[in-house]
């Protein structure tokens, strides 16, 4: 009896799972439930997307459409005028616009690269070996995930001043090297690597440095990409913080916020600016998405 009921259930499963089939056919799903989920996701997805679509549409509107009442969610005569305006406004500024772009690209690039190298270097021994202090250090890192950088802004300033890094690129780049989330993710990912990977190299007498570069690093590519997305995401939006005063060192988000604050006359240009700021993180995420998911799968909070 039981076997028959089970077989019937299996049959049902096969019949009703045309659209979850690809993800591996699953038990306990009804067609109505699946359709409900799909419709729900599409509706909420559309709601989530409205602000972004609206920003893109705004940036393509010519000025007569921009100030039309009621505002429309589509554009009749798309134009790139707003983008041209934005760049014209920018090039008219005291510091050339390219300087702001260079600053942000440089900070994001160097900060991300250094973060990946330094965090992986630290993650490898912490994940794979036990030595005096290693457990305590890992615990401190997990603990530091539980508070936000805002609580250390003031002493952070004092530390920067002591180091003499106020008003230099270092003040933005070096703290980014030490992002805790990155070390944490990298460490969890590496502790899942199998020991047999290194054993052969060790028997052959390879030094740790070689093992790290030749064996560990190539095996954690997905974790690099994950660190990359989180690092780019935070550095791309860096808005000088408290540390930068001189104009030539200021970043793109700052320059753009100056344009946006120009008010209604610059509505088009500011829409274009917010679209430009969105593009880079989104592209980076599209490139690294599947790797990010893989890394996160290996890094829960172990208790």
């Amino acid at each position: 009896m039981a076997a028959k009921a089970m077989a019937e259930k299996q049959h049902k499963v096969r019949r009703f799972h045309f659209f979850t089939q690809k993800a591996g056919s699953r038990v306990n799903r009804s067609l109505s439930g699946d359709l409900g989920v799909l419709i729900f996701l599409l509706i909420t997805g559309a709601l989530m997307a409205i602000p972004m679509v609206f920003a893109i549409v705004q940036s393509l509107k010519p000025s007569d459409e921009l100030f039309m009442f009621p505002p429309r969610l589509y554009v009749r005569n798309p134009t790139s005028q707003n983008y041209a305006d934005l760049f014209r406004l920018m090039s008219g500024s005291w510091i050339p616009f390219s300087r702001y772009i260079f600053n942000t690209v440089m900070i994001t690039g160097v900060g991300t690269f250094g973060h990946i190298i330094i965090a992986s270097m630290a993650a490898y021994p912490l994940a794979k070996y036990v030595f005096p202090g290693s457990k305590a250090f890992s615990k401190m890192v997990v603990f530091s995930l539980m508070f936000n950088a805002t609580v250390t802004t003031i002493p952070g300033y004092i530390v920067m001043a002591t180091l003499g890094w106020i008003d230099t690129y270092w003040s933005l780049i070096v703290p980014a090297f030490g992002m805790t989330l990155g070390l944490y993710l990298m460490q969890s990912f590496m502790s899942d690597l199998h020991d047999s990977l290194f054993d052969a190299a060790k028997i052959d007498g390879a030094p740790e440095g070689v093992i790290f570069w030749r064996i560990v690093m190539p095996n954690v590519k997905s974790a690099w990409l994950t660190l990359m997305i989180f690092s780019v995401q935070s550095l791309w939006n860096v808005n000088n913080g408290m540390y930068i005063y001189s104009e030539p060192l200021k970043t793109l988000p700052y320059a753009i916020s100056q344009i946006v604050s120009g008010g209604i006359a610059r509505a088009g240009a500011s829409a274009a600016a917010s679209v430009i700021m969105m593009i880079v993180p989104i592209v980076v995420f599209i490139i690294s998405q599947s790797n990010v998911i893989e890394t996160m799968a290996k890094s829960g909070l172990k208790e």
Partner: protein
């Protein structure tokens, strides 16, 4: 049942047993040996450890120390014991408002955001892979770009604002509402925007956790009498992704208590009649505007302990999932 040993026996035992001092020496020697053996590892960890200690550990310690002093960056700090804390809780009415707002924001946006992350991740997991990838990007994009400025178009106070224009056309309102300038609407608007931004790191972590679950468990569960997707969620899915649930909680809590810049970019600083004034804003006010560093450090220290306590509490709750 204790026997009294003879004095000769105790002397012999004392000779055999190493003294406490000898034990410590041995322990230190052994640790030193272990440390020398691990020289390369220390070399690997050193750059990160230096940065971590300089920019995270030391600042926390300095902050706790400064919170007991008055300090203006020019004169050396003067020790005043708990005066700062006394002033904060007894005399500073704005701080009480800030705590209220922060707790309100955190208790709404934290749990709701967390559940939204879990719900969307769970639903997305039912979709075919290609479709799932596209939807993941769509849901994660707001947190990814932190594009909260877009909302200044939507909640714009004149009739050009998207929300006002829709409401005006449907004649639900007669005059445009000053969404970002009215103290009554400021907090709800901020909550909506934070919700929109809330599908962040925890969301990705949940998606990953769901994909890591062995499919065979669901089949075994079906044989054991699990009848629908809700039972499946509670008995199989959630217990299997406990680690991700913990991690997601840490990310959500830390984020929801640290909200500051998003609010400032929407409603400005200070917000209308301090309706959206949070602890972070209070900290900014004293730290970067008034330069009362001791006082600001006391605020930071309180925020630090609130975050840690909230995290520990929620973790002890989450340990019970599926048990």
């Amino acid at each position: 049942m204790s026997t009294i040993p003879t004095s000769a026996a105790t002397e012999a035992a004392a000779k055999r047993q190493p003294t406490a001092w000898q034990n410590i020496k041995k322990y230190v020697a052994y640790k030193w040996y272990e440390m020398k053996k691990a020289k390369t590892y220390y070399f690997f960890v050193l750059p990160y450890a230096l940065i971590f200690i300089t920019f995270t550990v030391v600042p926390v310690i300095i902050s706790i120390y400064l919170s007991f002093t008055t300090f203006n960056l020019l004169q050396p700090p003067k020790f005043v014991f708990i005066e700062n804390y006394y002033k904060l809780f007894m005399l500073d009415e704005l701080f009480i408002v800030a705590i209220k707002n922060t707790l309100l924001l955190a208790t709404i946006t934290g749990p709701v955001g967390y559940l939204l992350c879990l719900m969307f991740a769970w639903f997305l997991n039912e979709m075919p892979p290609k479709f799932r990838a596209v939807l993941t990007l769509l849901f994660y994009a707001p947190a990814l770009t932190q594009a909260s400025t877009i909302f200044t178009f939507i909640f714009s106070g004149d009739s050009q604002g998207l929300l006002n224009s829709v409401l005006l056309r449907w004649t639900l309102i007669i005059n445009p509402i000053q969404w970002l300038k009215n103290e009554k609407t400021v907090l709800p608007v901020v909550i909506v925007v934070i919700m929109w931004l809330s599908l962040g790191t925890s969301f990705l972590s949940f998606i990953a956790g769901l994909q890591g679950i062995d499919r065979e468990q669901y089949e075994a569960g079906a044989i054991d009498g699990i009848k629908n997707r809700w039972q499946e969620l509670w008995f199989i899915t959630l217990p299997n992704m406990k680690q991700q649930l913990m991690f997601g909680a840490v990310m959500s809590i830390t984020g929801s208590f640290g909200m500051g810049s998003v609010i400032t970019s929407l409603v400005g600083f200070p917000s209308p009649n301090y309706a959206a004034h949070t602890i972070v804003h209070h900290l900014e006010d004293y730290g970067t505007v008034r330069f009362e560093m001791g006082y600001a450090s006391a605020i930071a220290t309180i925020l630090f302990f609130i975050m840690i306590t909230a995290n520990k509490l929620v973790q002890s709750l989450l340990r019970r999932v599926g048990t």
